[in-house]
């Protein structure tokens, strides 16, 4: 089989629209995940047993089942229950956001638990309530520590977003597959697709190390 990269310029516009979709999906999903995950992560270390159990169950269920299955459940399953279609993009960000939230929750929990107990004790003895302690003392310090793992989560989500092809959303990978069914050039197309993913993930890791430097405190 002879390789023929001359088809690449012609298919780039299609792949770029796909890449845009991939970035949108990953960014929105991680944003939703960050909100859900922060609450769930704090809930995991909360003193309230009920809250703790709910957050724990959520994390266990989401991390214990494949994202692909969750996507199918939301997209094909939910409409039969609510008797109306769920738009594919909506289904994707809901499933991916909830999925990401579980991983972010674990990152947040680990971040909070990594802050020395003395910080809490000092804050409480200064008269702060436990909510205030979390809000002003613990969480800001924990946040700095969780930046790198959050960057990892974003990269993982960007790559996992390729699963949305099964619900007919045309992300980067899906655009590539559509092109292949027209050109029968799998190697050339997948190679370019992989390269575009690589450029995107490298850009994110650069962004993460930049923000790490920005947030670093002296002393």
């Amino acid at each position: 089989m002879v390789l023929d990269f001359s088809i690449i310029p012609g298919i780039m516009p299609a792949l770029m629209t796909g890449a845009k979709m991939t970035i949108e999906l990953a960014a929105i999903a991680v944003a939703i995940g960050l909100v859900i995950g922060s609450f769930a992560g704090i809930a995991r270390v909360s003193g309230n047993r009920v809250v703790k159990i709910i957050a724990g169950t959520y994390v266990d269920f989401i991390r214990g089942t494949p994202l692909l299955v969750q996507l199918f459940l939301v997209y094909f399953g939910l409409p039969t229950l609510i008797h109306r279609p769920v738009p594919a993009f909506m289904a994707a960000i809901v499933a991916m956001g909830i999925n990401s939230g579980a991983y972010v929750a674990e990152i947040v929990r680990a971040g909070i638990q990594s802050i020395d107990k003395g910080q809490t004790e000092a804050a409480r003895s200064l008269g702060l309530t436990s909510a205030q302690t979390m809000r002003y003392i613990i969480f800001p310090q924990a946040f700095r520590r969780i930046i790198p793992p959050l960057g990892n989560e974003f990269i993982a989500m960007l790559k996992d977003s390729s699963l949305v092809s099964v619900i007919a959303l045309e992300d980067l990978l899906r655009k590539g597959q559509v092109v292949i069914t027209r050109t029968f050039r799998p190697f050339e197309v997948y190679a370019v697709v992989a390269l575009i993913y690589l450029v995107m993930t490298l850009a994110i890791s650069k962004l993460v190390s930049w923000s790490e430097r920005k947030l670093r405190t002296v002393g």
Partner: protein, 247 residues
């Protein structure tokens, strides 16, 4: 010394493996690529895991006619032609329409089945009667199928491409697409299952062929000869009746 002994053992094994196919009376194997998600042409039995369907019965009969054992390789539809080109199997029997586009990449046997695409809609739909009513609508299809290619050429449509034909139908039944374009035989099979959908008369005429690597002209001739034999012996009609009787 040990290493030398190992080397001798290994090389004798390799020689044995190379010679073996010629020694035994075993028939040569014809590897057949298929996307087993397209009943009644090709699908997998839920219980036994066996590959069944019109295409597979036909290719097995052709194999018998030309003295080859068949081995089915199940692959996703969009990877079928690339897999043939890289040599994962020798031919494709997977309800594949002979098109000019595909002929640029692979060879096809003589046609063995004539089919057409139909528009599937919800039974209660009164607005979409034919393909000309689909302009600007959203259409669900299976990726890379003739239905996908036809739908992609209609003006202003949103084409929703799924990996599996049943997913494309489910999209329609969930109310997320206006219509689904799919092979007549598949539509009739699925409409038996779901009473809430209907389909019109075929609006394309097309022929299925067995795809073979372009460089493999020997196999192309053999398969054409086998197909002719299967048709002449009445075996073809037997297989046809088995899968499409009563349609």
């Amino acid at each position: 010394m040990k290493r030398l002994l190992a080397l001798v053992c290994l090389s004798s094994l390799v020689v044995a493996a190379l010679v073996a196919p010629g020694v035994g009376a075993a028939k040569p194997v014809l590897k057949v690529g298929t996307s087993a998600d397209f009943p009644p042409f090709e699908f997998q039995d839920e219980k036994t895991g066996e590959y069944l369907g019109f295409d597979l019965d036909l290719i097995r009969a052709i194999g018998d006619a030309i003295g080859m054992d068949t081995q089915i390789v199940n692959t996703g539809w969009d990877g079928l032609i690339p897999g043939l080109m890289t040599g994962n199997y020798d031919c494709i029997a997977s309800a594949m329409t002979i098109t000019d586009e595909r002929l640029k990449a692979v060879s096809f046997s003589d046609p063995y089945f004539s089919a057409g695409q139909v528009v599937v809609t919800m039974a209660k739909d009164t607005k979409i009667k034919s393909v000309s009513d689909l302009e600007g609508k959203s259409i669900s299809v299976q990726i890379g199928t003739t239905g996908d290619l036809v739908a992609s050429d209609i003006k202003g449509v949103t084409v929703k491409r799924f990996n599996l034909a049943p997913d494309a139908i489910q999209e329609l039944r969930n109310g997320a697409s206006h219509a689904c374009i799919i092979d007549l035989a598949v539509a009739s099979q699925i409409a038996r299952e779901y009473k809430d959908i209907k389909y019109g008369a075929p609006f394309t005429m097309e022929y299925y062929g067995i795809a073979i690597n372009r460089s493999n002209t020997g196999l192309l001739k053999k398969i054409n000869r086998g197909l002719a034999m299967v048709k002449a012996s009445g075996k073809y009609d037997e297989i046809y009746d088995k899968w499409f009787a009563g349609n």
